[in-house]
């Protein structure tokens, strides 16, 4: 049996052999001890002293979410010097790979970051393209920064109190995610230990009402909310039941409180609450586990649920728990677990939106390692339950939106480029009719402009070169955890892919591959430059028969990568180095080890002598796009005479016209040379023949119709002398 393990065993050394000079990736997909995420003694399994210099001993995990305290030994006296936290204890923000970067973070008692250490990552770009040291360098920018500062990727803006961090070129999504991880982790711990004070919000005031809404009414107006967690969300096997099916709501609001608890129950609860305290209820109507937590002990905290309001979080201890004896609202569902929790934090206000958060652990099926995962549901009292209605709340832009706003100009320019090229191609009939085989500038002006912009602006400046690795990453994300935010974080690539998908189905792969792919454009530009520099006599095309055999290679590479990705995404990403894109645009030819530079340089060098060798024979992305090109809607035109005439085929740089005169749309780069010939009455043999015949016969040259022929001349019947006279 050819098992997965056998395949891995065979492929792994092969990849290692191929990639001996790969950057040393110390923490890529490394197997971490399971105790790292479960043991109370975090620092027995993690190098805590490396991120908190000066600390010689560490406490056990404490707090919710958890952290450890680090101490210095001062002549037998322990002095607290700071805190160490494991990012996956606090947040589940995934990076580009869809998996989190497991980071150990140190912070001193003043809230300044003292150390950052990557323990594990799954970022393919850091495996081969960009040295892992870049991420270390990126993380070092946090050292000495205060956790409460406004730190973001990009330029510093002192007028907005914004501290900017230099991104890693070509790994923007990874560092955006890493910044969120750093700031979320640091903030959570800083708030728990009192470094960051909670925001004090104005308290809600409630209107008096005699209404007695039913359960259905309360659900409809949002006073009771529903939070469902599926077992699959936690990596568990499902049996049709939800893992957690919770209903919750705010009880201090008199109309809601009385409807849910009854008048007496509400009065009794309110009598227990001191000023500034709030009560919420939670019931579990179905589920596989307890929301209170099985490991709860007296004096401890409930570690499965918490309330978050903006950046403040509120956890519950045993003294914050009150029994819920029953629900009075008509139509309330049956439940098997219930609680009333009291929020005692001063910063909480029911006038503003808040979230109930269920804190879970996602289990990795392969490694059995647990990673933190949270699920939340927003709650905000309706206008009618608040005196004066809901206050105005300005929600901060999500990170991806900030990126889009920061790059608005670049995005705008890119969209103009894409639309411009698409519009030019859509008008190809006009352009090729105005061109001739000797003068194609009307077509080439657009195409060459597209090339230059795609090489300079898209490739080198914006680094938006599409790659097969993105296809594989999407595939993986689709299987495991799809997050739009992740892909929206790289706007140019996101827009490019939408454009590619649409145009492949409308016109085929040629518009992207032939007009806009940065590497393809560079490759063909070198060929054209070689010709212009007098190297034409050295330029060659492979014989058609050999070309027909070799063109299948790229499909084999694509299917090979796809197959390997099912077994090992990391290995597939390594093998995807067959694309020289990272070397050429992301990292730079001179910044990589010599095998990569030699490979990319060799392909570009070969491109001077033969047209697009990589695109024709090796490009897995081209192969992936060629397949749906089989079903493109609009192809190039052919005439009946094309079956015998080889004029177009002879000039086809893509070698895409077969012996029967048909165009292989999968191989066609839409250069439009054959379409120029199609309407050129001096170059297209059937047209030229007809032109000569008419010239000889003294007949006029009528316009050429859409089928590529002169409009036929139909002699009108001669009018009689009588008709002539009458007219």
């Amino acid at each position: 049996m050819f098992s997965q393990r056998t395949l891995r065993r065979l492929l792994a050394p092969l990849a290692a052999l191929l990639l001996t000079s790969a950057a040393h990736a110390d923490t890529y997909e490394i197997k971490l001890p399971p105790e790292l995420s479960s043991s109370p003694r975090l620092c027995d399994y993690a190098p805590c002293s490396e991120v908190l210099p000066g600390a010689t001993s560490f406490s056990e995990r404490k707090g919710q979410p958890s952290y450890v305290e680090g101490y210095r030994d001062d002549a037998g006296q322990k002095t607290k010097v700071g805190y160490v936290m494991l990012s996956t204890d606090i947040t589940d923000i995934p990076a580009y790979s869809g998996k989190p970067v497991v980071t150990l973070i140190g912070m001193d008692t003043a809230g300044k970051f003292t150390g950052v250490k990557i323990l594990k990552h799954s970022e393919p770009i850091l495996l081969l393209g960009i040295p892992e040291s870049s991420l270390v360098k990126f993380n070092n920018q946090y050292l000495g920064q205060f956790v409460g500062d406004n730190i973001e990727i990009g330029k510093s803006r002192p007028e907005e109190n914004l501290i900017g961090l230099d991104a890693i070129t070509g790994a923007t999504v990874t560092v955006i995610a890493q910044n969120q991880v750093m700031m979320t982790s640091g903030t959570e711990v800083a708030k728990q230990v009192g470094i960051l004070k909670p925001v004090i919000r104005p308290q809600a005031r409630f209107p008096i009402s005699d209404a007695a809404p039913s359960w259905a009414n309360l659900v409809a107006d949002g006073s009771v909310q529903h939070l469902v967690v599926k077992p699959e969300d936690l990596g568990l096997k499902g049996d049709g039941r939800p893992y957690m099916d919770l209903w919750f709501g705010y009880l201090n609001q008199p109309t809601i409180g009385r409807a849910l608890l009854g008048k007496d129950g509400y009065a009794s609860l309110m009598a227990r609450l001191k000023e500034g305290e709030h009560a919420i209820f939670i019931i579990r109507t179905a589920g596989m586990d307890s929301f209170k937590g099985s490991g709860f002990v007296r004096g401890g905290i409930y570690d499965r649920v918490q309330v978050r309001q903006d950046k403040d979080s509120f956890t519950f201890r045993d003294l914050d728990y009150v029994n819920l004896w029953g629900l009075a609202a008509a139509g309330a569902p049956a439940y098997d677990e219930s609680a009333i929790f009291i929020i005692r934090g001063k910063g909480f206000s029911a006038a503003y939106p808040w979230k109930l958060v269920f804190l879970g652990n996602r289990i990795d099926k392969e490694t059995a390692a647990k990673t933190f995962a949270n699920f939340d549901r927003e709650y905000w009292l309706a206008d009618s339950y608040l005196e004066g209605g809901r206050p105005e709340v300005i929600k901060p832009d999500p990170t991806w939106l900030k990126v889009w706003k920061d790059k608005a100009l670049q995005i705008g320019a890119f969209i103009v480029l894409l639309l411009g090229v698409a519009a030019a191609y859509a008008n190809r009939d006009r352009l090729v009719r105005r061109s001739s085989h000797k003068n194609k500038w009307r077509v080439n002006a657009f195409k060459y402009t597209g090339w230059l912009l795609s090489i300079g602006f898209v490739g080198f400046q914006a680094m938006a070169q599409p790659s097969i690795t993105q296809v594989l990453t999407w595939f993986h994300s689709l299987l495991f955890q799809w997050q739009w935010e992740l892909f929206l974080s790289d706007p140019l690539i996101f827009i490019f892919w939408i454009f590619i998908i649409v145009t492949v189905f409308v016109w085929g792969r040629g518009l992207f591959c032939g007009w806009l792919c940065p590497f393809g454009s560079l490759s063909e530009l070198l060929y054209k430059l070689g010709r212009a520099c007098g190297l034409k006599r050295f330029q060659f095309h492979l014989p058609q028969a050999l070309h027909d055999r070799l063109k299948g290679l790229k499909y084999a590479i694509f299917f090979g990568l796809l197959a390997v990705s099912f077994f090992s995404m990391g290995l597939a990403e390594k093998l995807a180095e067959i694309e020289p894109f990272k070397t050429t645009f992301l990292v730079g030819l001179l910044n990589r080890s010599w095998p990569y530079t030699l490979f990319a340089g060799g392909l570009l060098g070969l491109s001077i002598f033969t047209e697009r060798p990589f695109c024709k024979y090796l490009c897995p992305l081209g192969a992936a796009l060629a397949m749906p090109t089989t079903f493109r809607w609009f192809g190039l035109k052919r005439k009946d005479e094309c079956t015998k005439c080889k004029a177009c085929a002879k000039g086809c740089g893509s070698l895409a016209i077969d012996t029967k005169g048909n165009i292989d749309q999968r191989e066609c780069m839409l250069c439009l040379d054959c379409m120029v010939l199609y309407y050129d009455d001096h170059a297209c043999p059937p047209l030229a023949q007809e032109r000569k015949r008419r010239d000889k016969a003294g007949q006029p040259l009528t316009p050429i119709d859409a089928r590529g022929y002169f409009i036929p001349i139909h002699p009108a019947p001669a009018r009689s002398a009588t008709e002539e006279k009458h007219s």
């Binding site: 699959e232 499902g238 099912f566 079903f631 609009f634 052919r638 005439k639 009946d640 029967k660 048909n662």
Partner: protein
């Protein structure tokens, strides 16, 4: 015309159906790889293909019930796709030329059929996969 050689043009197995009947025929044409009548293909290939299609369906059901891993179903799907290429080349050796709403078909080369079957089955597989995952019947 996007084809130079008109000898490449083919008539689909469902002939000249129109309207809803055409849509239904198109759907059947994509989902049912075996030809009929003169285009029926060899009986042995037909039987082998039918057997494998049943096995692939069972594999999907087993996966949905949690008895097969995702890797196994991908393997089955791949195996079935390979056979479907040969079944179609034998019984329905054509692919559409031009827009999906058009009625122009051409003779399918091996590469045409590989592209058609793999892309079609990728879409069907993805739809099934996402539906099963959304219903909580498939886990990875």
């Amino acid at each position: 015309m996007t084809l130079a050689d008109r000898n490449e043009l083919r008539q689909p197995s469902y002939g000249e159906a129109r309207g809803a009947a055409w849509l239904a025929a198109e759907l059947r044409d994509h989902l049912w790889p075996w030809g009929s009548g003169a285009q029926g293909g060899r009986t042995s290939l037909r039987l082998a293909g039918f057997g494998l299609a049943v096995a692939a369906t069972i594999a999907w059901i087993l996966t949905a019930l949690g008895h097969l891993s995702a890797g196994a179903i991908i393997g089955w799907w791949f195996g079935w796709s390979v056979l479907e290429v040969f079944v179609r080349l034998d019984g329905k050796p054509y692919v559409k030329e031009g827009p999906w709403w058009g009625r122009l078909y051409r003779r399918a080369s091996l590469m045409d059929m590989l592209c058609y079957v793999s892309f079609k089955n990728l879409l069907i597989g993805a739809s099934l996969f996402l539906s099963l995952k959304a219903m909580g019947l498939l886990q990875l």
